[in-house]
């Protein structure tokens, strides 16, 4: 697997910001719906990277944190409608986790529109199209999140001292101004 690119994406055609959205779709409903959208030749924004989970209940909140930390501008979760879960209870667990995670992400400064949960059944290819297009537009309006770039920026404040300490390794005593 290749390393994630950290640079913010821009469209070569327009030069505008292209959001990068990681989508976690459940195997039985939303992934099948995305498949159907493809087979039906529906067009939707190419900004999502779909990761297939067996169930939205498999979604560990760590996946969402990791996606944002590695450069996602948005995260979309797709699961079966309540009552339709292939594993009976999985989507309820997803709903509970997402409810609390949404609140926590807001407290951590991640805008609400960057994180979304949708119930999309296997027959709703059209809904995949609308949800993805809508989310891409909302995230595009928010602009890049670029956490890898931000983290790099945050750590720049340590460079000067580190260089100084490494330099003075040769000439003891080390003293920092």
């Amino acid at each position: 697997m290749s390393e994630p690119t950290t640079a913010t994406q821009t469209s070569p055609a327009t030069g505008s910001f292209e959001p990068r959205i990681v989508a976690f779709f459940c195997n039985w409903c939303t992934y099948t719906a995305a498949d159907m959208a493809g087979v039906s030749r529906m067009k939707y924004a190419p900004n999502i990277r779909v990761i297939r989970l067996m169930c939205s209940g498999r979604l560990d909140p760590q996946f969402v944190m990791a996606a944002f930390a590695k450069g996602a501008d948005g995260v979309l979760i797709g699961g079966c409608h309540p009552g339709d879960c292939h594993y009976v209870e999985g989507n309820y667990k997803a709903l509970r986790r997402v409810t609390l995670l949404k609140r926590m992400l807001a407290d951590l400064g991640i805008e609400e529109d960057r994180f979304r949960l949708e119930w999309i059944s296997a027959s709703e290819g059209d809904k995949v199209k609308h949800v993805v297009n809508d989310m891409v537009e909302k995230v595009r309006a928010l602009g890049p999140l670029d956490l890898p770039g931000k983290h790099k920026d945050w750590d720049k404040e340590m460079e000067e001292l580190e260089a100084h300490v490494n330099h003075s390794q040769k000439e003891i005593p080390a003293h920092v101004h």
Partner: protein, 329 residues
């Protein structure tokens, strides 16, 4: 000159509890001092930074550093002690995962300084005076360390060999670590010197933990008198035990208080808070959005609850806008 192995202790952004935990070794501290030479321990003994600078590189066998890294001075000492020590151990929650001090990563440095020097109810400062890193008067010059924009765990600043978790670490873990150092029987680099299992595994109430926990309401410790025999989570108290590393003998739960997560995550977890959120949220009973939200409202501060000891090691590292400024004022 003594040929006993040299050990150092140092503190950065910490409360002093870790230093106290060394003293908590009680008579075992004699075993330690018999076996090693303590060459640096500013909290308890009179050594100066210059003494350390004068030592050859790698001449300290191990330094146990507690506290998070917030100021340029702490950063410099971390670099210096890294250079002088063969083994650098992050001692206690703050050095391990950022600890309580790293909750400050929810605010910008400017917000914090403004509150402390201007807005705090106990502050009278009409001139809005703040300490300056450089100050000159009558030909005299003084310098103060600068505060960084972020609080960091030790391994976000320098290379760290081992971690001893806990707030503070129990003396048992310190003793075991010192014995391992002396015998040279050390685990692979990067190991946390505590068992790799959850607190529940060492909790005496584990048998009373139901297979399925389904809660309609979360309670806070002051709202109920908890049954001292029964699993606290089953009684509605958010207990971090299921997602937190053991090694503490579930000491808080023995005191009838829920685990707050000070030991950090087990080895295969990358984001402690997200993991706590995962299991805790899924214990909410409802199936309707509004019922679930009502139950989860019982956790009013998810960041402070789930990252109480480790916001620095959260994958997001803090509140995203929390770094508007880049140059020290």
């Amino acid at each position: 000159m003594s040929t006993k192995p040299k050990i150092g202790f140092y503190w950065c952004a910490s409360c002093g509890g870790c230093e106290e935990s060394v003293v908590d070794l009680a008579e075992d501290v004699l075993m330690v001092t018999n076996a090693v030479d303590i060459v640096f321990w500013p909290c308890a003994m009179d050594f100066k930074k210059a003494d350390i600078e004068a030592m050859p590189d790698k001449s300290i066998v191990a330094t146990l550093l507690n506290g998070a890294i917030r100021s340029s001075e702490q950063e410099e000492m971390a670099h210096l002690l890294r250079r002088k020590s063969q083994v650098l151990i992050a001692y206690g929650s703050c050095a391990h995962t950022g600890g309580i001090p790293s909750l400050a990563n929810q605010f910008t440095r400017e917000q914090i300084l403004k509150y402390v020097y201007e807005e705090a109810p106990t502050m009278v400062n009409d001139q809005k005076t703040r300490p300056q890193p450089h100050f000159k008067e009558d030909g005299r010059e003084t310098e103060l360390p600068v505060l960084r924009n972020l609080v960091r765990a030790l391994d976000q600043v320098v290379d760290v060999d081992y971690y001893i978790p806990g707030c503070p670490p129990p003396p048992k873990l310190l003793k075991e670590a010192v014995l391992a150092l002396l015998s040279g029987k050390l685990p692979p680099k990067g190991a946390v010197l505590a068992p790799n299992h959850a607190v529940c595994q060492e909790c005496a109430r584990n048998d009373s933990k139901p297979q399925d926990i389904s809660l309609v309401e979360f309670k806070r410790p002051h709202q109920i008198i908890a049954d001292p025999e029964k699993c606290l989570l089953a009684q509605g108290l958010p207990c971090m035990g299921p997602a937190t590393r053991g090694g503490c003998d579930a000491v808080c739960i023995k005191g009838n208080m829920p685990c707050t997560g000070c030991f950090g995550p087990v080895d295969n977890v990358r984001d402690h808070g997200a993991k706590i959120l995962s299991y805790l949220a899924s214990t909410a009973a409802g199936k309707e959005e509004k019922d679930i939200a009502k139950t989860l409202a019982g956790i009013p501060d998810p960041v402070g609850t789930f990252y109480r000891y480790g916001l620095a090691k959260c994958l997001l590292r803090g509140k995203v806008h929390a770094t508007g400024e880049s140059t020290p004022k």
